[in-house]
Symmetry: C2
Subunit: 208 residues, 2 copies
């Protein structure tokens, strides 16, 4: 066990997850309040759900819960000042390409802004988030080298890394998103973001 | 649609549900802060889960989620100043008798204190909550007519009422506990208690 430096905490998410949307939009602002630093941990929820025996997100399969989540998301979007909730026409939307881009930019200052733009595209604009054209628009608007980043995102190395991260999430016991880790302490759900940040700001010990 | 009088809101729960435990312990204190009034709505989660195709609570079946819930409950109990969390030796524990007693006392001032004692017995003392002796101890300590209340709780009328309430919950779209209703607005989970209370204090319109 070593001590976790500077209030770092891990944020495991997928762009297709609507509760990850809430956390992506809030996380940098909230982390700043607590003096904590986000470690971006993209993962693919699909393989995680399948490893747990589900063909899709449990609440998408269960129609009663799905109906509730629509009401809940509408209220949560109001609570956090986000655009009015409309269930995207494709839900959950596949976002493999932007997850790979997050791996390219995980240590860069632009990663938070990039993630917010992808989420906005999915949940406010109801647009595809898995094709290069849309990602290029976002990267260009952030004044980034979109061509270079997209090339890196398409490399075998980055593709493998996303698969490895997903497998790592599964081994850590992740079963949904968003999930936060402060050292070995796991926190599931956007509702636990503040608790995770409080734990991170206490300078918890890490897993290793 | 008629206006909901005096900030009333419905609290649907089962004594076997650990997140209902958190809400039972908090609800009267929180409701008072918001000037809202709790309508106690006991239900049996077992038939609801079975109607949805589950043999038990979804998180009990899914071992990854069950492991997480133990961590989460430990933190939540600390957060709310409750005794240290230990998974009860029987989980979820059947509590049909105390649910029937809640129906007997639903409009009485003692119902909140009774529910807290039952939850304490289940989650802090790890004791059976489904036999008359234990319920008698609780009712006697509250200076109530335990013999009369237990007789009423065992009547066919009350037994039927609990079955009807459970069916009503299912029809309303309840899929877990605790669930709060403010008029037709449904809020699921202890994490949404404050949101439900805020809605209740705004004087929302009711379902009928």
């Amino acid at each position: 066990m070593v001590s976790s430096p500077g209030g770092e905490f891990e944020f495991w998410f997928d762009f297709g997850s609507c509760y990850s949307y809430l956390s992506v939009m809030r996380i940098e602002g909230e982390a700043e309040k607590y003096g904590a630093r986000v470690k971006w941990r993209p993962m693919l929820l699909g393989p995680i759900f399948r490893a747990l025996g589900f063909q899709n997100a449990p609440f998408v399969i269960q129609k009663e819960k799905f109906a509730y989540v629509q009401m809940d998301m509408a209220r949560e979007c109001r609570k956090y000042g986000l655009p009015a909730w409309n269930t995207p026409s494709v839900f959950p939307r596949l976002g493999v390409l932007p997850l790979r881009i997050v791996l390219v930019g995980a240590e860069e200052t632009w990663v938070g802004a990039f993630c917010r733009e992808v989420m906005h595209r999915n949940y406010a604009l109801d647009q595809d988030i898995n094709e290069p054209e849309g990602m290029k628009v976002i990267l260009d608007a952030l004044h980034l080298d979109s061509r270079g980043i997209l090339a890196q995102a398409g490399s075998e190395e980055v593709k493998n890394e996303l698969r490895e991260r997903t497998e790592r999430a599964r081994v850590l016991g992740v079963f949904g998103a968003p999930t936060f880790f402060v050292g070995s302490q796991m926190f599931w759900g956007n509702d636990r973001l503040e608790d995770a940040l409080q734990e991170a700001s206490r300078g918890s010990s890490s897993r290793s």
